[in-house]
């Protein structure tokens, strides 16, 4: 099952933790909000993504399953 990262833009407050913890997939725009590459995560990236999601102060980073 392929998993992807997604951001809830309503709850995101541009803390930027995700870009620190998952730079392979997330960069920040000029206002500090994450620009997310939503392609399927590779096996080793899944762990990093889950860690980044847990570290988000507003729980705005989501690691989704395929159907979401």
């Amino acid at each position: 099952m392929s998993r992807r990262v997604r951001v809830n833009p309503i709850t995101c407050e541009a803390h930027g933790m995700c870009a620190e913890l998952l730079p392979e997939r997330i960069t920040l725009d000029e206002w500090g909000y994450p620009i997310v590459d939503g392609a399927p995560l590779t096996g080793s990236q899944v762990d990093h993504a889950v860690r980044a999601a847990r570290a988000c102060p507003t729980f705005a980073l989501l690691v989704n399953n395929e159907r979401d």
Binding site: N8, D29, G32, Y33
Partner: protein, 459 residues
């Protein structure tokens, strides 16, 4: 005619073009004074409403399923802007767990659109008919007619129509009126459902989709009021009749709001795929040379004047021009208007209508509006065009709803359609036309601040 004033005096809607014998459909029998048809007049005109879910559990379900199949054959797509297949949406709601609710979306936040108001004000029974059919088709026990609170005529017409209908023993859903705050995104599906669930009138993050978990977590079918009016007629006349007009991928007739440089602005019913030229003729002809047209709405697309002659009004014909029918807005911008100033003003207005929940929408639209204003005034930094492209890609598809996407589409299409004018402004600043009164209406609609979250609010 005044467009999008809080209270609207409607010119009697005219139907176009007259050479098609089967038009008008929706606007048939409309009163010249713009008042609502009574229930008796409505029934005399269209005949009784068929039942799509008769008594008996199994038979009811089978019949309802048969109606959704008929609707699928009709090829009806939503008239609120997204042109989503009506039958597909119904199936999703019917298949979701729990008792469904149907919402007739008549909020019409588009400043240049009047078609939903026109329907609510003149043909409320037709909308209720469609809502009742939709409710039976998905097994809903409740139908909510959502109307913009700024339009007292619509509120009154719908309230009176519900009252007049009384208890309908044949058709079961309970019909209610809901007044919705007046701002651009109030009718966005999740914002509407959020408000009707007791929350603020603001979009929410998806999933959950409203067809699975909408009002009070119940599966919710949200249909534009014009879509429901078509459903009312399809339930009486069938799919084959519906497809006698229109294009194969967008069958039927459709309502458009024609405004700008035309003799008789107003709401027209056209065959989908009709030429823009025929619509303008039906509207009494142009009153000025045209610099371009804004199609769809404020989240739609500008098309340059040179292409207007060849345009047909259906999504497949408009796609090569980067445009779509959207909510049926056709605004003809005259040669006397400045397209740079108009684009910048609409962009600023759309920035002001952002729900201000998502960072990229708040900051991106602000930066885009500012850059456009700088270009209009001739004070843009070098490479402002590149700045617009970059901001556009940073803003689109990064919000919870489509507000930033539509605004970006409108801005980019304006920059492309009026590239000469934009280049002139960047070099020389304001033109003679810049200071004229704006042609596109910019209603004063402050966003109502989020209410305290009620029970059941979604976020």
């Amino acid at each position: 005619m005044a467009i999008s004033q809080p209270t609207i005096t409607l010119d009697p809607p005219v139907t176009a073009p007259q050479d098609t014998p089967t038009l008008p459909r929706l606007l048939a029998g409309i009163r010249p004074d713009g008042g609502p048809l009574t229930l008796r007049e409505h029934l005399a005109l269209h005949g009784p409403l068929p039942r799509v879910r008769p008594g008996g559990r199994r038979r009811g379900r089978e019949q309802a399923g048969a109606f959704v199949e008929e609707l699928e054959l009709s090829g009806l797509v939503g008239r609120g802007g997204a042109a989503f297949p009506a039958a597909t949406k119904m199936r999703a709601v019917a298949a979701a767990r729990g008792r469904a609710i149907v919402v007739a979306n008549g909020t019409e936040g588009e400043p240049a659109s009047l078609k939903d108001r026109t329907l609510l004000q003149t043909l409320p029974q037709l909308i209720i008919d469609g809502g009742v059919i939709a409710a039976e088709a998905v097994g809903a026990d409740q139908l909510i007619i959502a109307v913009c609170e700024s339009s007292q005529e619509c509120v009154d017409a719908v309230a009176a129509a519900i009252e007049e209908r009384g208890e309908d023993a044949q058709h079961s859903p309970k019909v209610q009126l809901a007044r919705i705050p007046a701002h651009y995104s109030a009718g966005q599906e999740t914002a509407l459902v959020n408000f009707l669930s007791g929350g603020p009138s603001l979009p929410t993050f998806t999933p959950p989709r409203v067809y699975e978990q909408g009002i009070g977590k119940r599966p919710t079918l949200v249909n534009n009021v014009e879509t429901l009016a078509h459903i009312a007629l399809i339930s009486r006349h069938g799919a084959r009749w519906f497809r006698q007009l229109g294009t194969p991928s967008q069958p039927g007739s459709t309502l458009v709001t024609l405004s700008g440089a035309v003799a008789h602005p107003g709401v027209y019913e056209i065959e989908t795929g009709a030429s823009l030229t025929s619509l303008i003729e039906a509207g009494g002809g142009p009153t000025a040379r045209m610099r371009g047209a804004l199609l769809g709405g404020y989240g739609g697309s500008w098309v340059a004047g040179e292409y207007l002659r060849g345009i047909a009004l259906s999504n497949e014909h408009l796609a090569p021009h980067g445009a779509s029918l959207g909510a049926g807005v056709v605004h003809l911008l005259s040669e006397e208007a400045c397209p740079v100033a108009e684009t910048a003003r609409v962009a600023r207005w759309m920035h002001g209508q952002s729900a201000r929940q998502c960072g990229p929408c708040i900051h991106g639209l602000e930066a885009l509006a500012e850059t456009l204003e700088q270009i209009a005034a001739g004070g843009a930094p070098a490479k402002a065009g590149q700045r617009i492209s970059r901001l556009a890609s940073l803003t689109a598809r990064r919000g919870a709803c489509g507000h930033p996407d539509g605004t970006v589409r409108m801005i980019l299409s304006g920059v492309e359609a009026f590239d000469t004018e934009f280049a002139d402004h960047a070099r020389h600043g304001h033109c003679e036309q810049c200071s004229r009164t704006p042609e596109l209406p910019l209603p004063d609609r402050p966003l109502t601040m989020p209410a305290p979250r009620g029970k059941g609010a979604r976020r």
